[in-house]
Amino acid sequence: MSTDSPVISCKNVWKVFGNDPKKFLENMTPGMSFDDIRAAGYIAGVKDVSIDVHKGEMLVIMGLSGSGKSTLVRCFSRLHDITGGTISVEGQDIMSLPEKELIELRRSKMGMVFQSFGLLPHRTVLENVAFPLEMRGQDKHTRRERALEVVKLVGLEGREEYFPRELSGGQQQRVGIARSLAIEPDIWFLDEPFSALDPLIRKEMQDEFLRLQQLLNKTIVFITHDFDEALRLADRIAIMKDGAVEQCDTPDQIVLHPATEYVRKFTEDIDKARVVHAGVLAISDVQGEGDPVDAGATIKQLAKQIVQDTRAVIPVAKDGKIIGGMNRDDALTILLENG
């Protein structure tokens, strides 16, 4: 598989809830809005979504509750059968997979973390983590060994024999994460994994998550309704509203060039200087003079320098190579706009 072919590719995906969604979708007049569909007695959970997820990428899907983000991610793993369109995972159309192969796909390729953890209450930490391994019939010894390894990875050593109810929320989610990692999945789904946690624990878990991601480098689909969380983690963000994707782009582009009014409102209160990187502002046909700034730094990080610098154009370098120049004015505008 070449690196640029997407791991998950969905084309014109629809998920409609109601009495006879298949028939409704076939006969539907194109261009019906979410409200039109609701008036007809159906709910468009996912509305004509086309999106690709590339290998090693972290795609964050965000939106308010009820915007369809959880539904979309459940379509990726076929926890929901889609009503229209196609979804392929590593080139395989998952809607055409027979049950046995679907189970096989989940057993070998996919891991998922849930908002309220979804732990089995009657099993210990170790047994919960080993559960997916047990389901695929691994023998007791190897699955125990692997489970111990993952439990250690998420920092729950010494709690292997505890039951979920004996753990705090953060610890329970660590178990959920460990379970989803036990089978070494290629694709990792996280459905608002930290929403149920206290703010302090949430921050700690985000750090933990970033550490794991650096270690494992998985393809990730991450759902959140928290924009700060999305900005912190994402390679790309897809913003959803009423089942449709409003915009799917890098965090820089979303705050700089919101595609719709809805996205603009969403990003209004964001401190853009913390999101936008120097590299994005660099214009390739201008050069500038003097010491360059790093393309990977945010405007906020460069604030002091930008304010004190007297050059009109500041060169930007990526991996030691100049890639263009950044207008100081542009940077100052972003810096001073809000926050």
Binding site: I103, G111, M112, F117, G118, L120, P121, E160, E161
Partner: protein, 659 residues
């Protein structure tokens, strides 16, 4: 009976509202009744003429005959009987030394008591250990070990059987909508059928004695298991299900590793109910000649040996409380973790300890016969002395005067006139009143059910006895409400008393209904009052319980708002607490009516003139058709009330925004 229905949620027809329609019906009924009293109503309008009554019993007999003989069901059931008999013989051998395979029993009572104590300790600490061991020791010392074990040996077969069947059907009902669709109505009828209706078919298909008793007991205990199972499975959190799917579970793995363990609590609550219903029923199977505690109690009460009856009652109650507490403790018992590397003996210390005690006492009983069995003349039964005590108590002037007054006053001044009044109402008028009641409280659908159900009762040919049954139920429930509601309201005023009262109610609800006859007979002898009294105490339990629960669960911000508005206690109670508690109280009221229908049939043993008496009479013969007609009459009347009140409760709850 003109119900004030100011709260009709939706108006019925455009012309007349629901409440107006009910008023019209009531008016017509009153007019009809007045005609009857003044003697100008034609006889055929007062009671349906004999000639117009279809021979339901005969038809049912023919159908049963067809199923039994022509379709060969009897051969099948007799074949099943053999298997069941084998099981019962084996458990009989183990529990009370019946001379059958495996010929190892009986287990010495000391060993049994020790095991009960260890199980109690494992499930709930010292208190339950004491209860478990104590119950066994009491039973043995009072000289009822062997009959108690006869009862337990049937329970030990019937309860697991009911569990397995209930669990499987429950899973099927959850998995396939059509199964659910088919069994739902069957279950609601089964749950209102009086127990006598279970007994006779069991006898006919499964022979007299323990086998029929076990079958009736099993069938009786299945419905709640089915309901709890499918309820538990439906309640499993969607994320846990998705986690299971994402872990790559196959369908069977989902059920085995995800659904059933996650529904553990509901399933165990079902187990608790199965055990309690089995115990209640197994005692009642005495009516079809099953030996054990029930039979003994029946015999003792029949010969008016109140002391011994009382002792047996205590044994039954202790057994019930023990089984209930232990199975409930099992429901809330959560697994506890052991640190890694805990040795085997420590992980299983309770099991090993229990086994050691069992072996120890069994060995002891070999050298010491008293540890194995307490024989005749060695026990501590105080039957005679208790008899004298009770008689002495009843002879005290004050007590005598009170019971005598109640007997005379209640009976002559209130109950008998009320009964005669109900009997004097013409059948169509009576049905109209019931329909009006259903229409005003619930709605058109329930009113139609009421019409159909009561018309069927009218055409069953047992109208007068049905009315008498209804009279017992209504008078007992009314008296229970008059007594129970003030008690509940008082208890609900303080946290401490609420908890105490709820504990009493919980405990009383575990008693097999049969036990309630003992105090009734003790106080009032074999009279109508005794019947009403036994129903009354039985029905009071749910009334008190739900009233307290309803009052206690009124949201605190509402009572606080009332306090801040300067309401007195009484104002708060009348204006805030009772209106909000009413839906919950109605559930209690409904249960009280259901309990009353149940008890009124059992009270037939005392000697009444209602359906119960006739039902009991059918047991002596093979009148299967009549037995069913009578049973269904009771079920139809109970269902009418159940449907109406539950619909009203649901409407009211929605209107109040509760749940």
């Amino acid at each position: 009976m003109a119900n004030a229905t100011t709260d009709t949620v939706s108006a019925g027809t455009p012309m007349l509202s629901r409440s107006q329609w009910s008023l019209v019906l009531v008016a017509v009924a009153i007019v009809l009744s007045i005609f009857q009293w003044s003697g100008i109503l034609p006889a055929w309008l007062h009671r349906i003429p004999e000639t117009a009554i279809p021979n339901f019993a005969g038809w049912l007999d023919a159908i049963f005959g067809f199923i039994k003989d022509d379709m060969g069901l009897l051969t099948l059931t007799r074949f099943l009987t053999e298997g069941l008999e084998w099981l019962l013989d084996a458990s009989g051998n183990i529990f009370f030394g019946k001379r059958r395979w495996p010929n190892i029993g009986p287990i010495p009572w000391t060993a049994m008591a020790a095991v009960a104590a260890v199980i109690g300790y494992y499930l709930g600490g010292w208190k339950l250990a004491l209860l478990g061991g104590g119950t066994m020791v009491w039973t043995a010392l009072i000289g009822q070990w062997s009959i108690a074990m006869q009862t337990m040996s049937v329970l030990a077969i019937a309860a697991p059987l009911a569990f397995v069947i209930g669990l499987s059907v429950g899973i099927a009902a959850w998995r396939y909508t059509w199964v659910d669709f088919v069994i739902k109505p069957i279950l609601s009828v089964l749950q209102t059928l009086p127990f006598f209706t279970y007994l006779l078919p069991a006898v006919i298909f499964f022979k007299v004695g323990p086998t029929a008793g076990a079958v009736a007991t099993t069938i009786y205990a299945i419905p709640p298991m089915i309901l709890m199972t499918s309820l538990g499975l439906q309640k499993v959190s969607p994320e846990v299900i998705e986690a299971g799917k994402m872990s790559g579970c196959s369908k069977f793995q989902m059920l085995r590793h995800v659904y059933i363990p996650s529904a553990r609590t509901e399933i165990l609550v079902g187990v608790n109910q199965v055990i309690m219903l089995c115990l209640a029923m197994v005692v009642l199977t005495a009516f079809i000649g099953m030996p054990g505690l029930g039979a003994k109690l029946l015999a003792m009460m029949g010969s008016f040996k109140l002391g011994r009856s009382f002792e047996i009652g205590v044994t039954i109650v202790l057994l019930a409380v023990m089984l209930d507490r232990m199975s409930k403790a099992w429901v809330v018992k959560q697994p506890e973790h052991f640190e890694r590397g805990t040795p085997f003996w420590k992980r299983h210390q309770m099991l090993l300890f229990g086994a050691a005690l069992f072996v120890g006492f069994t060995l002891l009983s070999l050298v010491m016969p008293l540890a194995a069995e307490i024989g005749r003349g060695q026990h501590f039964s105080q039957g005679k002395e208790l008899d004298n005590l009770i008689k002495g108590f009843l002879d005290i002037e004050a007590v005598k005067a009170t019971t005598g007054f109640l007997r005379a006053f209640l009976n002559v001044q209130i109950l008998i006139p009320f009964r005669n009044f109900m009997l004097s109402i013409p059948t169509p008028a009576f049905i109209m009143l019931v329909v009006a009641f259903a229409l005003a409280l619930a709605g058109r659908k329930q009113a139609i059910y009421a019409l159909i159900f009561f018309s069927l009762v009218a055409f069953s040919g047992w109208w007068d006895r049905s009315v008498i049954t209804l009279y017992s139920v209504i008078s007992a429930v009314t008296l229970a409400a008059l007594l129970g509601l003030p008690i509940a309201v008082l208890a609900a005023r303080s946290e401490k008393w609420s908890v105490r009262m709820l504990l009493v109610c919980d405990t009383a609800q575990t008693f097999p209904s049969f036990v309630y006859l003992i105090p009734a007979i003790m106080l009032f002898g074999i009279t109508d009052i005794a019947v009403i009294f036994s129903i009354l105490i039985f029905a009071m339990v749910p009334l008190i319980r739900y009233t307290i629960e309803g009052l206690r669960t009124v949201p605190p911000e509402m009572t606080e708002a009332a306090d801040m508005a300067g309401a007195t206690r009484m104002q708060k109670l009348v204006n805030v607490q009772i209106p909000l508690a009413l839906p919950t109280m109605a559930v209690g009221f409904n249960q009280a009516i259901m309990f009353a229908f149940f008890m009124v049939i059992i009270a037939a043993f005392i000697g009444t003139q209602d359906l119960g008496q006739e039902l009991q009479r059918t047991l002596a013969g093979t009148d299967l058709g009549k037995n069913f007609v009578l049973g269904i009459c009771v079920a139809l009347m109970a269902l009418t009330f159940d449907l109406t009140i539950m619909k009203w409760t649901a409407d009211k709850k929605r209107a109040l925004g509760l749940q």
